[in-house]
Symmetry: D2
Subunit: 354 residues, 4 copies
Amino acid sequence: MAGNTFGTLFKLTTYGESHGIAIGGIIDGCPAGLTLDMEAIQRDLDRRKPGQSKIVTQRKESDTVQFMSGIFEGVTTGTPIGFQIVNENQKSKDYSHIKDTYRPSHADKVYDDKYGVRDYRGGGRSSARETASRVVAGAIAKQLLSSFKINAFTSSVGDLFIDKPYQDLDFNEIENNAVRCPDSAFAKAFEEKIMQVRKAGDTIGGTITCVIQNVPSGLGEPVFDKLHADLAKAMLSINAVKGFEYGSGFCGAKMKGSDHNDLYNEDGTTQTNLSGGIQGGISNGMDIYFRVAFKPVATLIQNQETINSAGEKVMMQGKGRHDPCVVPRAVPIVEAMAALVMADHFIRARTTRL
Amino acid sequence: MAGNTFGTLFKLTTYGESHGIAIGGIIDGCPAGLTLDMEAIQRDLDRRKPGQSKIVTQRKESDTVQFMSGIFEGVTTGTPIGFQIVNENQKSKDYSHIKDTYRPSHADKVYDDKYGVRDYRGGGRSSARETASRVVAGAIAKQLLSSFKINAFTSSVGDLFIDKPYQDLDFNEIENNAVRCPDSAFAKAFEEKIMQVRKAGDTIGGTITCVIQNVPSGLGEPVFDKLHADLAKAMLSINAVKGFEYGSGFCGAKMKGSDHNDLYNEDGTTQTNLSGGIQGGISNGMDIYFRVAFKPVATLIQNQETINSAGEKVMMQGKGRHDPCVVPRAVPIVEAMAALVMADHFIRARTTRL
Amino acid sequence: MAGNTFGTLFKLTTYGESHGIAIGGIIDGCPAGLTLDMEAIQRDLDRRKPGQSKIVTQRKESDTVQFMSGIFEGVTTGTPIGFQIVNENQKSKDYSHIKDTYRPSHADKVYDDKYGVRDYRGGGRSSARETASRVVAGAIAKQLLSSFKINAFTSSVGDLFIDKPYQDLDFNEIENNAVRCPDSAFAKAFEEKIMQVRKAGDTIGGTITCVIQNVPSGLGEPVFDKLHADLAKAMLSINAVKGFEYGSGFCGAKMKGSDHNDLYNEDGTTQTNLSGGIQGGISNGMDIYFRVAFKPVATLIQNQETINSAGEKVMMQGKGRHDPCVVPRAVPIVEAMAALVMADHFIRARTTRL
Amino acid sequence: MAGNTFGTLFKLTTYGESHGIAIGGIIDGCPAGLTLDMEAIQRDLDRRKPGQSKIVTQRKESDTVQFMSGIFEGVTTGTPIGFQIVNENQKSKDYSHIKDTYRPSHADKVYDDKYGVRDYRGGGRSSARETASRVVAGAIAKQLLSSFKINAFTSSVGDLFIDKPYQDLDFNEIENNAVRCPDSAFAKAFEEKIMQVRKAGDTIGGTITCVIQNVPSGLGEPVFDKLHADLAKAMLSINAVKGFEYGSGFCGAKMKGSDHNDLYNEDGTTQTNLSGGIQGGISNGMDIYFRVAFKPVATLIQNQETINSAGEKVMMQGKGRHDPCVVPRAVPIVEAMAALVMADHFIRARTTRL
């Protein structure tokens, strides 16, 4: 049970190391009859790919997806959708400096502990490159959920955060700036912060907020597979994520019940939405919103002392082309994982009643 | 895929509504040959049961577990462990007042939306009573993981929080106070806070911190089933939970990489542990720690305006015997779910290498 | 992955040993809104229970099922259905004679090999008593599939077999005789054969044929989870089953394509049905029919030489109240497993198209 | 739950249609540290590929497998193994004649019934071309089980069958003839039979026997996932299979218990092996053997009357390059599926005991 599959009825299985021949996956359970917009899929991949702006890694990968099966004349056939993204960058680098060296706060050492062997080139399977496959599947999930609106955006960088409720933000603004922020003033501040950190050879963390709108009531299962439990798992499965909260989140833990309860309107909507669109694990038709915390990227352009596989202290040279802040490129990944969860529960909900 | 099973190799499936004949479950995948301490199982159930102190609900349930199978002469046989807890309280109450009324911030309405039918007595399947079955399974998982130390405790109530690192706390203190706090001064403050809220007919939220020690390196799967992703799902699947963070958590999102990275000692341990004992989804042998946010209980001893199933405004009378703060009784539930995740990955790790 | 669950969307998990407190299970995934005929469930259990006629074991068990959850006012709620059957016979016998002795062609030795420990009383988990739980779940599945007709019957005992196509048999006759045969002449011959074998302290094998009618086209998945592959697994999972064939079966392996192909009528039905109602793993609307082979019961009323756990030769006394032929009591079990497979694919088919 | 995954801990997920860009799959759960013999994998593919002898289809495909991930410097890393086989034949043919025509005893019509859309080229997903991916995964499973011996062979063609016990056959002979028969005299008779059928533009069925030796005691799970139940499902999931029997099989259903029971030797082996190496679903260390029935290929070189999607009678021209008998090429597929089942249970057995 090596855990390379996500979902139960809309399932994504991925394969691939960062510097192997290709990464890719199989989507099993996409219903038949969905006419796919192929450009929209590639567009989401382009939002995630390296080299798209000055605040992300300058590595070059075209990240072009190729579909092998499951689509006939532009329409899904109900059979598994196999796809791949060739690793163009695969032979361009020398990774011997990390072959036996354990980078701090990376997975190098635990891979050796666990498997006794690892593909050390560029992080191998532990590289966030794997998330490109998730973006492909998520883009198809979005099309399955065509009436839903799923918007993620950068809501903080370091200690700078958007001090407005999401309802006051313009989601159309998100793609208008490199940092993917729906407020142009904050976008500018975030970008400056990232540039400043980059110049120092350092990295910085941040948060992404995601809002899912137009969700029907009734999605999610009431006990273990609560809708928000599956969203939490999806988000924590993204590289560098340290936390998840939905609705009132950690702030809700400070509140009293009389302030926290969402009172009903006569039409079944609620006057407030501290619940975050989910009650007892099941969507209630209100907006679903949640927040995801990303740690700063562990790869620095500074020297760091570390150890090698023999347990000796060694100096690790800071070099390479890495993201100073992972958050802008993680926005489409958060959307993709949210879409995978929602698509899965959308299909599961068909099996609930007689 | 109704989602009443948790785990992959150490699996718990639960059944039961709060006011049906019994709740219970089946544990499938507990290895053969484990000598069980039956009293320790009941002890964890007693920590969760109602009526144990003045700061929890005064409802009475003995919550005695009965095992049906899978244990022979005190030893697990490798076959499924069936168990049940009879609902003693099942007929004692009149629930007609909530039959057609949707309680604010409860799951009543979404159950009707989803299923078209519901057992309305005391919340039915959405009641936290279901978590008693999790405590049973978690207590067995703890015994499987006998060398691990799993300690959860109340770390905040409302806006009061323990302002010390967990290393400075005495876990032996946890069971010495009703609020399950490892610091007697904070315990007193927390209890007073809860009593004050209860007197006002109100409720209050809080957080639980959990620390897992003596974990070997190599548990967890690197992509979707990251150890912390499964912990997040486990925690968010508990009633009333709104957030999860591990290691540096949301604070980590404010930090720079040069401050956040955990540098290695020569023995492979790290000088700091902002990673929270997990790298790339895999345990690294350091302490695993995480924090869980609980919203205030939605059932108040105050009248609230709400709607009925006909969409009419009705007044809901505040009554009943409910918890003013769910956190003290949730401590063994957090431990149980943590133990279930760790047991699952403990067994999964056996399948990793040749 | 101990394998005590059957099905994917309509799932049955069972627990219980033959001489523990109870056996039982959890059905997860039964859609909400199904009004259950409780007497029909018990009726199927009664068809399976011991002591019902002179040609089956004379052991006494009332085999009364008790439901714990998932049903409210006679209607399924969509939550898991927990149920149990108390083992009334549990303490009445002395099993010390098989504690250390391995009965020939039983699972005693392999349990010790596999688990290192076993509940030796009456076969423990390996006893066919476990199938009572399957009959409960199958009876609910049948009600979900109310428009389907599922009929199993004894088609051979030893070398006596019904030499007529199933279309010439009267399924209403099945419950009119102890052997569950839809032809009264063959019923008489089968019964005589079984009585004769019983008198000799011996046992005998037989086959069951099952016919499923009124199945819509489109059930089953085309690759690994072919409808007939799942039926095969279901049948082979029943104690004592040695073989499965559907449609033309092993005879089909002797035929030419020009004789075997089922030509179409204009309405999409086929002129012949050697395919057995399934093409490429998917139902085509024609009758599904298959045949299941049962070996003779291994417990004899004759002495047999065998070994004990120390590897010494010992004489095993023939005694006890066992079935001379398992087939009559297995008829409802075959139907139950067929119903579980069909219910699972019936629900899965809802997820196929947009 | 579209069912394109086989296995629980050693899992294969496949994708691909016969005339798409490629077929392929992902193996998840292969333990780390296995040094792979790549040539042995290709050798099994070559045993299955078209055009290898005069008694199989003369279609040309090189069927070269390419691995994308999960293998580093020739050793498995524990991460998923992605692989593909490019469809070289993909554009060479005109399939408009079957676009709207339902071939008798093919899956064309049920695909339309189920999905509402299908890739009609050469059978699409229903083509046995998919089994090439199984052979790849099975070849890796065989290497994981290096101490096991898995031999399948053609045991009958039409009404000709090998009338010797498998113990009297020389498995080294299997690959010495085109029909894959371990007896040269029968091989000759089988080949002649197939050539004769081919000349008549017809096809013929047959059976494959598989013997698995050197299996340790204790593999298999006792209830639903019995070792033979999983073997049955595996075999019935292969295209054209109509039946499965193991050990005494359908003959066992005619026997008496006193003849059927396998008596023990003092070393725990049995004097006879009518059980087929499995007791209660668990391997007992004796040889596992089973037999699989294949129907005659449905594609004929004769004209057949059939219907189109409008329900009109049409004449289907017999043409194309198809197998007169599927059995010789199915031998490596049977071995592959057997290896997948055994590998899965081999890994599962690691989780059984404390």
